[in-house]
Each structure stands twice: as C-alpha cells, then as structure tokens.
C-alpha cells in the first residue's frame, strides 16, 4: 500500500483533497487479537451481504414491474426468461435472509462483549436502527412477488400494526394505502423497499461506519486489563482486510450454493378473493413476535391481549436500543450482570419462540 501512497495519482489527489487522515488510517489502524476477535468479522459480513442486496436489487429493478397484474408475471419472466434472472432473484432472497441473520449475530456479539459502552453508545443505537431497517426491508420485500403466501402474511402483519392504541389504525391504512391489502399496498411497499428504506439506510449506515472508523475496534474488558506488552494487534490494512475478504468469499460461495440448490418457490399468484391458504407465516425473523402474540389470551385485565403484546415488544425494543444508557444498579459490575441476564433471556426467548413457531 505504501507504494500507492507514493504514487503520482495519490499525490495528485492528496494535493487537492488532503488525504492525510486516510493515509493515517490505513497505515496505523490496528485490530486487537484475542479470544473474541471472530465477532469483529460479523459486521463486515453483514455489510458485504448488504452490498450484494444493493447490487442484485438494482439488477432486479431492471425487470420488476410493480402492480397487481404485473408483479407476479414480471417475477415469472425474471426467473424463466431473463439470463441469470433466476440466479439474481435467488441471490437477492437468500442474501437478504443471511444479512438479517448476521445482523442479529453482530448485535448479540456486541451486546455480550459489552462493546456498546462509552464511547460507542451511538454506534449501538445506529446499529439497532439498521437492524430495524433490515427487517423493514424484509417485510416490504416479502410482498413484492405478489404471491399468495406473501399477500396473506402482509395482511396479518399489517393487521398486527393496526392494534397499536390510538395510532395503529392510521398506521395500518398508511401502510396498506387503504383499508385492505391491494395493488395500492404493493405500489407503496415497492416505494418503501426501493426508495425510502435505502435512502434512510444509506444515511444511518454511513454514520454507523463513520463511528466505527473513528472509534476503532472495541477492546473487551479482559483484553484492556492485559499489560501493554501482552496485547496483540494486527494491522487493519492489509491483515484484517485480507481475513475479511477470505470470509466474504466463503459467504459468497454459500449464497451461490443456496441460490442454485435451494431456489425460492414463486408460489401461486395472490388472489384477494381466495380464502387464506394453510400455513401462513411471516419470515423467520418475525416468527418469535408472531408466535408470542398467538400465545396471548384475547384479554389481559382491561387490555386486548394482542395490543398488550405489541406494546410490550415496542417497549422492549426501545429499552434494547437504549441499553448503553440504562443503569439498573449503581455498581457497574452488578449492572453488567443484570444486562447479561437480560440479553440471555431475550436470546433464549427469541430462539425458543422461533423454533416453536416452526414446530407447531
């Protein structure tokens, strides 16, 4: 890399843009090496999968036509007529799922290594917002093929949004573009999926990455307590980047294999007048909420069970986002313990409910 920094091109750019901070970052940024180093790669994999999403999504946009009478047909055209259309569509669908999966792993690894604490509170908040946005991408993208399962899953999903007190009904109508899931909902979800969410994500992702670059990698408490001599580091460039690249290549092979060997079924075209098919279920990352709401009785005290459930998830989500600022106890050690139990409880709950949702 030093040869590039001595090159005429770099000097030409440096004279005009003052690239000294970039040079500093590339030459001196280091990554700590310890037992938990593996978790540092999770954010990178999520970013890589997001880039695949952007790339494959743009290609799909060339042929996808939103509309009640064209969405499903255009998907059929993409998978049957367009060169490598089947591959792009399946890569888009699989990498979307893997992206959310790695985002969850990234979030929980940050949580359990307590990497969110000062000075990285805002990195955590932006990261959580990115996960919510990723789930929003999933929810809005699920309807776009306009197939039977997606149609009814969206109906159920937007119904759940409708139970939020006071504003729920309005949210539902805004999401659906009317009282029911129709072609208007499809147009709306398409707009949300390809314009609104990408715009917001680009801004928040930019901020998130800027924070990461600015603050460097978080060092676990055990590592921090080591004498300076015992602390091991590798250069961000090229050592960490090379390892990242190796992992990304492997993830790419996995995505391709899934796309080739387990293509996503297009299903039957949505028919708003047909009765709901058996086995409507949301995407796996919404399953824990969906299953929990199913368990709730119709009424809890004076409240409707479902309303209380939605409010509960909203409250826990807000608490989770503000974890870096939450103090259950004055002593840092016992506060950390409570948070760990809270995180473990949440993880077990999510895993349990998801597995249960698929078994019943």
């Amino acid at each position: 890399m030093s040869s590039f920094f001595d090159s005429k091109v770099f000097n030409w750019l440096d004279e005009r843009l003052d690239l000294a901070p970039v040079k500093e970052l590339v030459n001196h940024k280091k990554v700590p090496v310890h037992h938990h180093t593996v978790w540092y790669y999770m954010g990178g994999v999520t970013l890589f999968l997001f880039l695949i999403q952007v790339f494959s999504g743009i290609l799909l946009l060339m042929y996808y036509r939103p509309g009640e009478n064209s969405a499903y047909e255009s998907l059929q055209f993409i998978t049957s007529k367009v060169y490598f259309g089947w591959l792009i569509r399946n890569v888009h669908a699989w990498s979307a799922n893997l992206m959310v999966f790695f985002a969850f792993i990234h979030m929980f690894s940050v949580f359990f290594t307590r990497a969110y604490k000062k000075p990285r509170e805002l990195t955590w908040v932006t990261g959580f917002l990115l996960l919510v946005l990723a789930m929003g991408f999933g929810f809005s993208g699920y309807l776009l093929p306009w197939n039977e399962l997606a149609f009814f899953a969206t109906k159920v999903g937007t119904d759940i949004a409708g139970v939020v007190p006071f504003i729920g009904e309005k949210i539902k109508i805004i999401l659906r573009g009317g009282d029911d899931v129709t072609g208007a909902t499809l147009s709306r979800f398409f707009g949300i999926h390809v314009a609104i969410l990408p715009a917001i994500t680009t801004i928040i992702l930019g901020i998130h990455l800027l924070f990461v670059l600015r603050q460097g990698m978080s060092e676990p408490e055990v590592f921090e307590e080591l004498p300076e001599k015992k602390k091991k580091y590798i250069h961000f460039f090229p050592d960490f980047v090379l390892r990242d690249a190796l992992l990304w290549l492997n993830v790419l092979i996995v995505v391709l294999a899934l796309a080739v060997f387990f293509p996503w079924d297009l299903g039957l075209k949505a028919d708003p007048l047909a009765s709901a098919p058996v086995g409507i279920r949301p995407e796996w990352y919404f399953m824990f909420m969906f299953q929990s709401l199913k368990f709730l009785p119709p009424h809890i005290l004076f409240f409707e069970g479902e309303t209380l459930g939605v409010l509960f998830f909203g409250a826990v989500g807000a608490l989770w986002m503000l974890i870096p600022f939450v103090k259950f106890r004055k002593e840092a050690v016992s506060n950390a313990k409570i948070l760990t139990y809270f995180g473990l409880g949440s993880l077990i709950f999510i895993l349990g409910m998801t597995i249960f949702g698929y078994l019943v």
Binding site: S80, L256, A257
Partner: protein, 430 residues
C-alpha cells in the same frame, strides 16, 4: 300431439277428484295455516305419539311440517280438538288415508294449484300430476295397477324434503336407491317382463361410480335420462338427445355425421350401452389389434368403417404418447426445482387437444381428427422441447456453479496464502 282416450280419461279423472276434494283442500289449508299461526295445539301428533301410532318414517323435518302444514293439511280433521270422534269426523273435514290410486290427485289438491303453491315458492312447477299420468307409472295406475309407483313411493309419505336436501329420497345422491326399491325387485319386475339389474349395472357404470362413490351430483342419474314425474323408457330416437343434454358436442357431431344419416338405428347406446356405460377408452377404436374394439361389433377388420376407426385411433395415440412423454419431462423439470409454468401450459393445451380429438371421433370424419392431431403433436413437441431446455438448464446451472466455486476457491486460497505470508513476516519482524 294427438291425445289418446286414456289421456282424456286421466284428465277427466283428475278434474273430478279435484273438484270433489277442493273444499276439503281449502279447509285443510286453512286449518294448516291456523295450526301454524296458533302454533300451540296439534292433537294428531299428541295422541298418535301417546298411542305409539306415529306413521312409519315420520320426520319433523318434512317440508310440509316446516311450512306450517301439519297432519290436517293433508288428512283433514280438527287438530285443535282432543275428542277423537269430533276431530276425526267428516264434519271436521277428516279424509284419513287416501286410496293408492287417489294419491296423485290427493297431492295434486295443492301441488297442481299455482295460486297456492306460489305462496311458498314463486317459481315452483305445478304440472307434476299431469306429467305423472303421462308416465308409465301413471298410465298403469290409471288402469288400476296397484303395484306401480305413485307420489309417496318416491317422495315418501311423512319425510318429504326438497330435492336439494341430502336427506331427501329425491336428492341426486339418493335417486338410484329410490328407484331401486321397485326396479331391483325381481318378483315385481318379472310381472312386467322388464329386467331388474339396472341398479347394479348403473352402480358399476362411469356415471354410477361418480355419483355413488365420488358423490359427484353433476353426473347423470336415473331421472336425468328417464325424466321425473313423466318417467318412461327413452326410445332409440331420443337417446342421443338425452345424452346430448350433457354431452352436447358429441351429440351435435354424431347427428351431423354420415353414420347418423345412413343408419337410423344408430344412437349413443349402440356403442356405449345404457345403464352400464363404461369410461370410454381409445381401445374401443383399435380395430387393428384389439378384438374387443367396439367398432368390430358391426364392422369386420379391414373394412372401410374399421379402417376409419383405426386411423382415428392412430391419430389419438400419436398425440397421447407425446402427451405422456411431456408429462414425464414436466415432472423431471418440477422435481429439479426449475420453472415449469410454460411447459405446464403447453401440456394443458395438449390435453385439451386430446379431449377435442376424442370428441371429434363422433363425426367419424378422419380429416377433422387428423387436423387436430397435427395441432396436438406440435403443441406436445413444444412442451417436450421446453422441458428439455429446462432440464439442460438445470445441469448448466450446476456446472456453472461448479466452475464459479473453483474460481472463488482459488481466489480464497490466494488470500489465505497471503495471510500466511503476512503472519510469517510479522513473526520474523519480532
């Protein structure tokens, strides 16, 4: 149609009986309505239940009961009076049990009067009694035959329900069993010199299996061919019209064929039978190698008629074999997870073509069948071609994936070696 003496007699008979019974009928209707209005006392049921003398097969679901026409609606009498002698007196309009030969007129008191019947169902028919006396049953009854079916024989006496009610004896699913009560009775049928195996034959036929086993009420049952109240055996001239009510295209093609023009006696049942109609197969036309071919019952192998049948058979087989091959390839395409919607569409088109060919054979015109065959072969070949492309694509994808993985693995290996090299460098620099 010129009316026979018997018809005139029947009409006169209905009129006379109706006039005699009309006052009772109106009184009964009035009483029935009253009983419904008051909805409190029905001494007929109360006493007959206590004495365990309720009529056999009595059902509270009977349509008359449900419409507010109770016992007295048909039998007369005063259902509000607990005194048996008074309530069942002539003064109270009591009729009692009608004689068997009077039953059609007995029911006709209401069912032949549209002014009364339309108060229940505005579009209801009121010509049942007239039609009945046109039937073989009605004619025999008029002659004094007490064995033949009258209204209650088919509809029951006290569990009469609308024909669309599955509990009804006249519901499509129950019709064969209703007719069977008499028509499978060997002793009874022998008196008239008619066979009594119709039910067994029907039950084993394509129609019978669909109705009795699959509960498909869309298929033909006894009354669809023989009529309801005017039930009569169809004669040869009307058979193709009867079958044509459902098999319209076959009938039209047959009627316009040379076969129908040249031979008066030919009709559907010549080839398909009547009660024991089986699912037709292409083998019925295979005069070249199937001795059981139906055409050989009249034609001899090699004659013009047999050759015509065989030509049509070969044309159908040509499409059918390609259709079977296309379906196999479709399954392979489906199980490989490939796109199959277009292949499926072409296969449906081929199937449609086969159905049309099997209909067109009723024209006995080989050129029409052949034209359809050429069309069908083209569509089936297109389906096979598309399926082959999908199967080829399936293999191409795996090969493409294999090549991509090799390239990616080489790249990953290069990165790995670079990491190792960097690790060595770091070690040495310490």
């Amino acid at each position: 149609m010129k009316k026979t003496y018997q018809t005139h007699f029947n009409e006169l008979r209905v009129t006379v009986v109706s006039i005699i019974l009309l006052p009772f009928c109106l009184a009964a209707q009035d009483k029935g309505a009253k009983s419904s209005d008051s909805n409190t006392i029905n001494t007929c049921v109360e006493c007959h239940e206590t004495l365990e003398m309720m009529p056999e097969g009595y059902s509270a679901g009977d349509i008359h009961q449900k419409s507010g026409i109770s016992c007295s609606g048909c039998h007369g009498g005063d259902p509000t009076n607990y005194d048996k002698d008074e309530s069942m007196s002539k003064k109270a309009g009591y009729i009692g049990l009608p004689k068997r030969q009077d039953i059609p007129a007995f029911c006709g008191r209401c069912h032949s009067h549209i002014d009364f019947m339309r108060t229940f169902r505005p579009r209801i028919a009121t010509d049942q009694v007239d039609q009945y006396y046109q039937s073989v049953h009605g004619k025999k009854l008029a002659q004094g035959d007490k064995n033949v079916a009258e209204c209650a024989s088919c509809h029951s006496s006290h569990a009469i329900m609308p024909a669309d009610d599955p509990r009804s004896t006249t519901h499509a699913l129950n019709i064969p069993k209703t007719c069977k009560q008499c028509h499978s009775n060997g002793k009874l049928m022998d008196q008239y010199g008619i066979p009594h195996d119709q039910y067994d034959k029907y039950a084993a036929s394509v129609h019978g299996k669909a109705l009795l086993e699959k509960k498909d009420t869309g298929v033909a049952t006894c009354n669809d061919c023989h009529g309801n109240h005017a039930a009569t055996p169809p004669d040869a001239e009307s058979v193709s019209n009867i079958c044509g009510t459902c098999h319209l295209n076959n009938m039209n093609l047959f009627k316009s064929s040379q076969m129908a023009a040249d031979f008066d006696i030919h009709s559907c049942q010549e080839c398909h039978g009547n009660h024991d109609i089986q699912k037709p197969t292409d083998q019925m036309l295979n005069t070249a190698s199937n001795e059981e071919a139906i055409c050989l019952e009249c034609h001899t192998a090699g004659d013009e008629g047999a050759s015509t049948a065989n030509t049509m058979y070969q044309d159908i087989q040509g499409v059918d074999s390609l259709y079977a091959l296309a379906k196999t390839k479709l399954t392979a395409s489906k199980t490989s997870g490939m796109n199959f919607s277009e292949i499926d569409y072409q296969i449906q088109q081929t199937r449609q073509n086969l159905i049309q060919m099997r209909t067109l054979i009723h024209s006995f015109d080989t050129s029409q069948v052949n034209a359809k065959s050429v069309e069908g072969i083209k569509i089936a070949r297109e389906a096979i071609h598309l399926a082959d492309l999908e199967i080829q694509e399936y293999h191409n994808r795996r090969w493409g994936f294999g090549v991509s993985v090799i390239a990616l693995v080489i790249l990953a290996l290069a990165v790995y070696l670079k990491i190792r090299e960097r690790n060595e460098l770091v070690k040495n620099s310490r």
